[in-house]
């Protein structure tokens, strides 16, 4: 295990009989150390492809498997039962079987859909019936076309109700409102047909909208209601029956589906690898990446499980392959939550400095410095323990920062904001704020110098020597930074002279010339761009350094909040006093704790990572045999 780099990798080419390829694929996946990604090197000696039909069958089977397992809500097994390769015939049988099961599922779904639709229709009719429920009349009559009687049913704006009723009375019509809502009134209008035309014009002016009576409503609303109720009951019975059928189907097919899941999991490695396999007659080549320290194990493992010989050729990654070589970062379990924070920024490329240890230790240290309190630290650990059952991965994060907070709590002599309960191993930050600010500045300068050295190292390892020497983050930049610091120091002790100026101007000139040579835009524009970029480099060094003052600022802030808390608590007695202390502590813990967490992350990302970390790497993703990661392999 390397502390500051991804594990060394080997480019591996496996040569085997073409019919051994499925078996080799399964065992490679079971081994979990072979990453086939971006490792294909076109080889003119292996012009053919294989496994096209296999992949097609696999994809169809997988598609059906995903649908049926979702339909029956079946969770795949956690691991495969027996390591074996799946031949095309077995895969085809599975695909056929899955297609049959899916067909049965579809029929069942259709049956359920039909009953659901009828249920919806009944619900809709119930809602419609509400509109007519106040009518004490056979609804069939309202649909009938009378010879002399004009009957209409509809809705009008409620504001028109009185006026329309009076207007209709002029024509000898009768209006009755049987339902009134917020804005509308449901009305029935009846009169002699003779005036129908006049009434129509009047109703149009009153914004009358006809209500259609559904065909199902042929009797008195009460009777219609009872019939709908009866129908609803029948449909519920049918739904119950369908549900029982579903349970039966699930019981009948679950074992099959789990078995198919097992088969597909075993078939998946070959389906994936066959995309990249190269074949010439009887011989097939598979290429990929394996951690260097596991190559020997790969040899012996394949020798043990594959009867026919598998020739393994290994080599170091070539410089032009560094970008695509996967980064395998093996770190202790407790670092994983911190690694996740690094991954939010990016993945280190293969030859890059891997910052897990640096990030973790500096994060824990800065959090403790800025949030030092024995009680608060213990509470953070307690919170971590509380949530660990739900989010086990974050436990180590809470424990680490909690312990750091506790350690600095002892150093500052602070427990739950009380500064006189335990003796300080050193002193409370408020006793000497200037010292705290100076220490923060020294910490920031050391942080930046260290990361500048890392940046130079990264470039050297990637054979980017010019950048390592002349870039703003290279040796020239480092000299510039140190010269500026020296000049500031000399200014303070009144020993500033022209040598300081020369020491500053020289690296600036180097950076300027280097940037000038690496730009190919028009001269005037180039001059401006290079000038601004050089100026930005200087400003960045200064602003990044000053940025670290926040470490001291938050340390003081924590003490200041404690003073404010006790001032407030001092204004009350008894229960109020202790309530103020408890609530104040909660406030400090939640608000300040979160702010410190974010500020430290900000320092790491902007003042740290931006200086050296490219984050353009590819994570090592070995081929695996995991049934719960069944995804489609669509690329052919």
């Amino acid at each position: 295990m390397t502390l500051f780099h991804p594990e060394p990798m080997q480019h591996v080419s496996l040569f085997m009989r073409f019919d051994d390829a499925p078996k080799v694929s399964v065992f490679l996946a079971n081994l979990g150390l072979f990453d086939p990604n971006q490792a294909t090197i076109t080889d003119n000696n292996f012009p053919d492809r294989q496994g096209v039909a296999y992949r097609r069958i696999f994809n169809r089977a997988l598609n059906d498997w995903q649908k049926v397992s979702e339909f029956f809500n079946i969770q795949p097994a956690t691991k495969v039962s027996k390591i074996e390769s799946i031949n095309k015939t077995t895969l085809l049988d599975s695909q056929t079987r899955l297609a049959e099961i899916w067909k049965i599922c579809l029929q069942h779904k259709e049956k359920q859909r039909y009953v659901d639709k009828q249920m919806d229709s009944v619900d809709h009719l119930f809602k419609l019936l509400e509109h007519f429920s106040n009518l004490d009349i056979d609804l069939k009559l309202l649909k009938r076309n009378f010879e002399f009687l004009d009957v209409r049913l509809g809705i009008i704006p409620i504001s028109n109700l009185t006026r329309l009723k009076q207007a209709l009375s002029i024509e000898g019509y009768y209006l009755s409102s049987y339902l009134q809502e917020t804005e509308n009134a449901h009305i029935i209008v009846a009169g002699i047909k003779e005036s129908a035309k006049t009434v129509q014009s009047l109703l149009d002016s009153a914004s009358f909208q006809y209500l259609q009576i559904p065909d199902e409503f042929q009797e008195h609303p009460q009777i219609v209601y009872s019939k709908l109720l009866e129908k609803q009951k029948q449909l519920k019975l049918e739904l119950n029956k369908i549900n029982q059928e579903y349970q039966g189907l699930a019981a009948a097919h679950t074992t099959d589906i789990l078995e198919m899941g097992n088969i597909l999991t075993l078939a998946k490695p070959y389906a994936i690898l066959s995309r990249e396999m190269l074949r010439n007659g009887q011989l097939t080549e598979i290429t990929g990446w394996v951690p260097k320290n596991q190559v020997g194990f790969l040899h012996s493992y394949l020798d043990e499980h594959i009867h026919n010989p598998v020739v393994i050729k290994t080599r170091h990654p070539k410089p032009d392959e560094f970008k695509q070589t996967p980064s395998y970062i093996a770190r202790p379990q407790w670092l994983h939550p911190f690694q996740q924070l690094i991954r939010n920024y990016g993945v280190p490329s293969y030859r890059e400095f891997e910052p897990s240890w640096f990030f973790t230790l500096s994060y824990i240290l800065m959090f403790g410095i800025m949030f030092g309190d024995v009680g608060h630290g213990a509470t953070i650990i307690f919170i971590g323990w509380l949530i660990s059952s739900r989010w086990p991965k974050v436990f180590s994060f809470f424990v680490s920062i909690g312990l750091s907070s506790m350690l600095f709590g002892f150093i500052y002599g602070s427990i739950f904001a009380f500064e006189h309960v335990i003796p300080a191993l050193w002193m409370s930050p408020m006793h000497d704020p200037m010292l705290m600010l100076n220490l923060a500045l020294i910490w920031g300068i050391s942080f930046i110098i260290f990361l500048n050295i890392v940046s130079i190292y990264n470039r050297m390892r990637s054979f980017q020597f010019h950048q390592a020497y002349f870039n703003a983050n290279g040796i020239a930049g480092l000299i510039l930074y140190l010269s500026i610091l020296l000049a500031i120091y000399d200014l303070f002790i009144h020993q500033y002279d022209y040598l300081n100026l020369v020491l500053i101007l020289l690296p600036i000139a180097v950076i300027f010339v280097y940037q000038w040579q690496h730009s190919n835009i028009q001269y005037t524009e180039r001059f401006l761009v290079v000038l601004i970029e050089t100026y930005e480099a200087i400003i960045n060094y200064l602003s990044n350094t000053i940025s670290f003052l926040r470490v001291a600022a938050f340390t003081l802030n924590h003490s200041a909040l404690a003073i404010a808390l006790f001032t407030l608590a001092g204004m009350t007695d008894g229960v109020g006093h202790w309530l103020a202390i408890i609530l104040g502590n909660l406030f400090i813990l939640i608000l300040e704790g979160a702010i410190v967490g974010i500020q430290v992350l900000r320092l790491e990302y902007y003042e740290g990572f931006s200086r050296f970390f490219g984050g353009n790497g590819t994570l090592f993703k070995p081929l695996e045999l995991s049934p719960n990661k069944l995804v489609s392999v669509t690329k052919t």
Binding site: S159, Q166, A167, S169, I170, E171, D204, S205, A206, S207
Partner: protein, 348 residues
């Protein structure tokens, strides 16, 4: 005491504004004067902006529309001052009352669109309401179809009116129906807002507002029944609620008249004086209007610390501005005194 405190500013404002009003008899005196002398006499009428323009144009006729808009802006500015001093339901009532002019613009746009006039032609016919306008005139003018115009109105204070008018248009597809629907919805809205006012204010308001509604209803009955031949029920449905003498029973009876002659027998006693044998609808309208002004004048003088005083002022001011406008325009066009009097809306 409470009313004095509440309406102190409104009362003072209305009292000051009322000084700009003329006595009815003064119009007869003005009629005899030359244009320059009339302008001198209008010095204290709050029309300085118009008179300056007139003088600048050397007493020439201003372009069509300009003069109308200048007079309207005087009324709108004064109404804004009055509305600013009100709150709640009272402010809502006055704001709604002044929206009549925007309603007129909506109707103009609808008519213009139905006659396939260009947006520019319609624009010329619109009243410029300045800062008081809430209608998106540009969007309305650029809409191609009447339903689209009514849709655009959904996002304005006229949304309720537009919704029902749109339903009417969908059913009948003619602009007349939409216009009658707009009128009906507007007066329904006005009646609703009137009912939300304090009872004492409402009772004081009724002699003026009720008479205005009576006048509108009577004119509509005559037009709908005798000119447009609408059915009695349809006519009744479209009438405005809240009249003084013409309650719903009376309106039902009046909506059923077949001839002009039947009108006087059906009218209540207080309104019979406004309908004479052989009069046109316009004459009846003017005659009723004069009575309204008479009542409004006495209300303006009689009421103290009340919104009715402000309402009365706005009614009289609107009428007098129209009369001054007609007088000046008549003089500029060298019309005869009879023609000017007719244009001023006086019964010959």
């Amino acid at each position: 005491m409470q009313k004095v405190a509440n309406y102190a500013y409104l009362h003072t404002l209305t009292t000051i504004l009322s000084d700009q009003l003329f006595n009815t008899s003064e119009f007869s005196r003005l009629l005899k004067l030359s244009l320059e002398e009339i302008v001198k006499n209008l010095d204290n009428c709050g029309l300085s902006s118009i008179l300056i323009k007139l003088k600048q144009s050397n007493y020439q006729l201003l372009p069509a529309g300009n003069m109308d808009n200048l007079f309207l802006s005087v009324l709108l500015n004064e109404s804004r001052s009055i509305i600013r001093s009100l709150t709640g339901t009272e402010r809502d009532f006055f704001t709604y009352w002044m929206r009549r002019f925007e309603l007129q613009n909506i109707k103009t746009i609808l008519r213009g669109k139905s006659l396939e006039c260009s947006p520019e032609q319609i624009q010329q016919e619109l009243t410029d309401l300045g800062d008081s306008a809430v209608l998106p005139v540009e969007e309305l003018l650029n809409s191609d179809e009447i339903p689209e115009i009514l849709n655009q109105l959904q996002n304005t204070p006229f949304s309720a009116i537009a919704r029902y008018s749109r339903e009417n248009f969908e059913q009948k597809q003619d602009v007349f129906t939409v216009e009658t629907s707009i009128n009906y919805q507007y007066f329904n809205g006005l009646d609703k807002r009137k009912k939300l006012l304090d009872k004492q204010e409402r009772d004081l308001l009724q002699p003026v507002l009720g008479r205005i509604i009576d006048q509108i209803n009577l004119v509509w009955i005559l037009r709908y029944r005798l000119n447009y031949k609408l059915s009695a029920s349809h006519t009744y449905f479209l009438l405005a609620p809240g009249g003084l003498y013409l309650n719903s029973t009376k309106l039902i009876q009046l909506s059923q008249i077949e001839k002009f002659e039947q009108l006087s027998t059906q009218l209540p006693e207080n309104l019979q004086q406004f309908v004479q044998e052989g009069w046109s609808i316009h004459q009846i309208e003017l005659c009723m209007e004069q009575k309204i002004l008479e009542v409004t004048f006495s209300l303006l003088k009689a009421t103290q610390f009340s919104i009715v005083k402000a309402f009365a002022y706005l009614i009289i001011r609107e009428k007098q501005l129209a009369q001054i406008h007609a007088l000046l325009k008549g003089k500029l066009l060298n019309l005869t005194d009879e023609e000017i009097v007719f244009a001023m809306g006086e019964v010959l």
